[in-house]
Amino acid sequence: MDYSQFLNMHDELSLLAVIVILFLADLFICGDRKSGVPAKSLSVLPVVLIAIQTVYVLLAPKTGTTTFGGMYQLTPMMSIVKGILNVGTLIVFLMAHEWMKRPENKIKQGEFYLLTLCTLLGMYFMISAGHFLMFFIGLELASVPMTALVAYTKKNQESAEASAKYILTALFSSALLLYGISLLYGTCGTLYFDDMAVHLDTSNLVQLMALVFFISGLGFKISLVPFHLWTADTYQGAPTPVTAYLSVISKGSAAFVLFIVLIKVFAPFIDNWNQIFFWIIIISITLANIFAIRQNNMKRFMAFSAISQAGYVVMGVMGGTAEGMTAIVYYIFVYLVANLGIFVIMNIIEQRSGKINISDYDALYDTNPKLAFIMTLCLFSLAGIPPFAGFFSKFFMFMAAFKAGFHLLVFIALVNTVISLYYYLLIVKAMYIKKNDSPVLSFRSDAYTRIGLVLCTIGVVFAGILSGVYQYLDTFAYGLLP
């Protein structure tokens, strides 16, 4: 066997190296031997390591390779998506720092970083899979540690409940997915993506069922309606940094993988999945928007906002075009910085004042103007207001779907952006216009939070108007048609 093949998996290997170093550091670097509280350096190490690794993944030469007989496939776009997920993880680590300083979390902080990185590794493998088993292992590696993360504050009942809900739905969706895969195996006799295409036949109803099961299984991960029921409860119960991770990184990777598998494996069924997603997108966006209006808990609110954003992300699969792929990746990136920006602010406010309801944000501008301002930028970006990045990503997403011929879908989605603008403006209104007797007190955020916010703000402001990001992504995009 040619061991040099492993070098093709340089992204995964570098992440694995980070995990191993962190694991050893967690074992041996000890601050206070009696209580078992780790040294201070342990909270800096993960941030530094993941930052280095992010730079490595983003700068590594972008080449396409196929290794292990097609089990592992890598295209430049996949590598870029991994880099984007890494950026998100970095921001999550930065925001988690404040939370980790709490006495009840200090002793188990190593676990947080390790589990998070394990799920990230799972997503890496899922993205680069060329075989359904590999894909499934990656998916499970991404889901199972996530359950532990959701239950991280296990003494908090809501966290435990959220975790139970998450694991049950994750198992159920995995079962659906596996059933779909088994149907495919039964009809094709192989699970290699590349070999399956010749065995697929649009008149074969069993294979059509497999497609439906596959979409349902991933639909749970992306939390599209009608597979979204776990989302709000899990988001609310999980610790805020974990919710942030769940809402952006887990979702973004699943959406990208969905596109990859659809164009690679299910290409003959394009008319079918176009039809399925046409309805799923409309229902997801509309329903989530209507529910979001009524929320008062910030995390539940973000959960419904995330469901509706998922609908927009998935619009890129319509037609399976190269423009669609660029639009998806670009959208994921822009959504990631804006959404994480909001979560960083939510987290720091929750850590400092324990407040998490929208009504607690009333008059935030009077006490913490900078936070309120950045929050406004991020909300505007999510709502698609220029000159922030969200406007560009929405525009290009709609453009791709419009080009693929889905005019009605684009129109309905556009009308929905107006509804979403309404509820995002509700928060802006709370922060700027409303009065509050007991506002969040004025405070100074820690350095980690501030670095995270700076990263998010740079992304929100410049990822759009500087066209370089989009053009860079466009050079690596590919779709069904050559």
């Binding site: 423009e323 952006t417 403006l425 802006v428 209104k429 466009d474």
Partner: protein, 504 residues
């Protein structure tokens, strides 16, 4: 770098300056310097444009420049101006300049959003690329929410939300329309002139597609241009907005609607415009008469002016749909004239409200004796509004109605005659209001104590009156400038009609 880009760059620098400045003086200094620079730039542009045109430069767009922006999607940063946009830029320059002085007491955040709003407006008028135009359109909309919501009066939260959502809903239509035009014309260029001239990969948009995208685009822009029945955001929004924001919004932002309808909807899809214009003519004509009649029964000064704006902006849409050169020229002059006089109106209403604490016509009496300067300004704004010869309103309305009547079709002529009734109604509500609040006998002792305009208010009022009277007394140069650009456009879409402009 093209010098037109300064219109976007200066507001950007102003925002940076505002962000860094400390204290009221610093903020005022930044705003005064910045808005004067913008006004000076607009005047310099007008002079340069007129000299270049006189020198024989007949290109459709002058001072064009284009840089690839999102090249995979054929989106460019592309600027250029013709007579229409020069007129609009001049208007925006004047309104932003005077708006700065009217909102003299306001805090830093207010000016930040105000400047962002003006950046959107200036950017819109220099754009030649549809994407860019749309982007600036949305940039101009969103600051309105905070400007009205935070610094407004009355039911401000409701008004701000209603205005923002209705205009954003319109932009949903607009985005669809832009996609339709882009892909309908071949999907190779977003440049308006290229699509119109069928060059750079653009071809004629098929008639079937024009029938779909023309109404969508027209409604998208029409909402901002207060097209009946989508005008309902305007009275609520204007009456709740702070003074300078009402000025900027009614004075400039509503013009984005008329400008876009003409430049994108009609110019790029002339066949559909020709076939479908009757629907929108009926709507716009209804708006003209309905707005005027509604203004008659208002008791709030700002509502009165807002409904009068609906009527006048309806006239803009009405005129461009007549598809004659003179009427379209009149429409642009009307945009200019309405922008100036409504800004003056809102400015003085705001000043009166600031002093007396009420805008209710029933409670205001005999102000002319107490605040003569504001009273005279108010009377001039009112007379311009009802179209007194010598002021800008007369020039605009005369050109519009002469041009509209030139369309020989019976249907169009009947509609024109019906729309002219709005002039009579305008006289009713304006004269009634002026007689009541300026000349009655003051009964409220509180109102007797108020003081007349400060220097910064006087400056704003004088500049606006100067412009209104300037257009009214010397209409030919501006008519000529606009006609020089409208003519080729009408020729382009096959509706060039002989000249019958009374002011040329």
């Amino acid at each position: 770098m093209n010098f037109l880009s300064l219109f976007v760059l200066i507001p950007l620098l102003m925002m940076l300056g505002l962000w860094l400045s400390k204290g009221t003086k610093g903020i005022r200094a930044v705003m005064v310097v910045g808005s004067s620079a913008l006004l000076a730039l607009a005047i310099a542009l007008t002079v340069k444009f007129l000299t270049d045109r006189a020198g024989g430069n007949t290109a459709e767009m002058l001072y064009t420049a284009a840089f690839d922006w999102f090249s995979p999607l054929h989106i460019q940063y592309s600027v250029g101006v013709d007579g229409i946009s020069v007129a609009m830029l001049l208007l925006s320059g004047v309104i932003v300049f005077t708006g700065t002085f009217v909102s003299w007491e306001m805090p830093k955040e207010y000016f930040l959003w105000f400047t962002l709003l003006s950046m959107g407006v200036f950017g819109f008028f220099i754009s030649v690329d549809m994407f860019m135009m749309f982007m600036f359109y949305e940039i101009a909309l969103i600051p309105m929410y905070l400007l009205i919501g935070v610094w407004g009066t009355g039911p401000k939260e409701y008004a701000a939300m209603k205005l923002t959502l209705m205009l954003m809903g319109a932009s949903a239509f607009l985005m669809c329309g832009i996609f339709g035009i882009f892909y309908g014309a071949g999907g190779q260029t977003m440049n308006i002139m290229d699509i119109a001239n069928h060059v750079n990969g653009a071809h004629l948009i098929a008639l079937g597609q024009q029938y779909i995208w023309f109404p969508i685009t027209f409604v998208g822009f029409g909402v901002l241009g207060a097209l009946f029945p989508f005008h309902t955001w305007s009275p609520d929004g204007h009456s709740s907005a702070p003074t300078a924001v009402s000025m900027l919004h009614a004075g400039v932002l509503m013009k984005l609607g008329g400008y876009g309808c003409f430049r994108i909807a009609i110019f790029l899809m002339p066949q559909a415009a020709n076939e479908l214009s009757w629907i929108f003519l009926i709507l716009a004509g209804t708006g003209v008469v309905y707005g005027a009649l509604s203004a008659c029964v208002q008791t709030d000064l700002k509502y009165l002016n807002a409904y009068s704006s609906v009527s006048h902006c309806g006239m803009v849409l009405f005129a461009i749909l007549m598809l004659t050169t003179t009427a379209s020229t009149g429409a642009v002059i009307q945009m200019l004239s309405h922008g100036l006089m409504t800004a003056l109106f809102f400015a003085i209403i705001g000043m009166i409200y600031h002093r007396t604490g009420t805008r209710d016509i029933r409670q205001l009496n005999g102000l002319m004796r107490i605040i003569p300067f504001l009273g005279v300004g108010f009377a001039i704004a009112g007379l311009a509004n009802l179209g007194l010869p010598g002021l800008s309103g007369f020039v605009a309305e005369m050109t519009i109605f002469v041009g509209s009547f030139q369309n020989a079709d019976t249907f169009h002529r009947v509609l024109t005659i019906l729309a002219t009734t709005s002039i009579v109604v305008a006289a009713v509500y304006i004269l009634r209001m002026i007689g009541k609040i300026l000349y009655g006998v003051n009964v409220n002792p509180e109102h007797a104590k108020i003081h007349d305009a400060h220097w910064e208010e006087r400056l704003a009022i004088i500049v606006l009156i100067f412009c209104i009277a300037g257009i009214g007394l010397a209409p030919s140069w501006i008519s000529h400038m606009i006609e020089g650009s409208v003519g080729p456009m009408m020729q382009h879409i096959g509706h060039f009609t002989s000249q019958c402009n009374p002011f040329l």
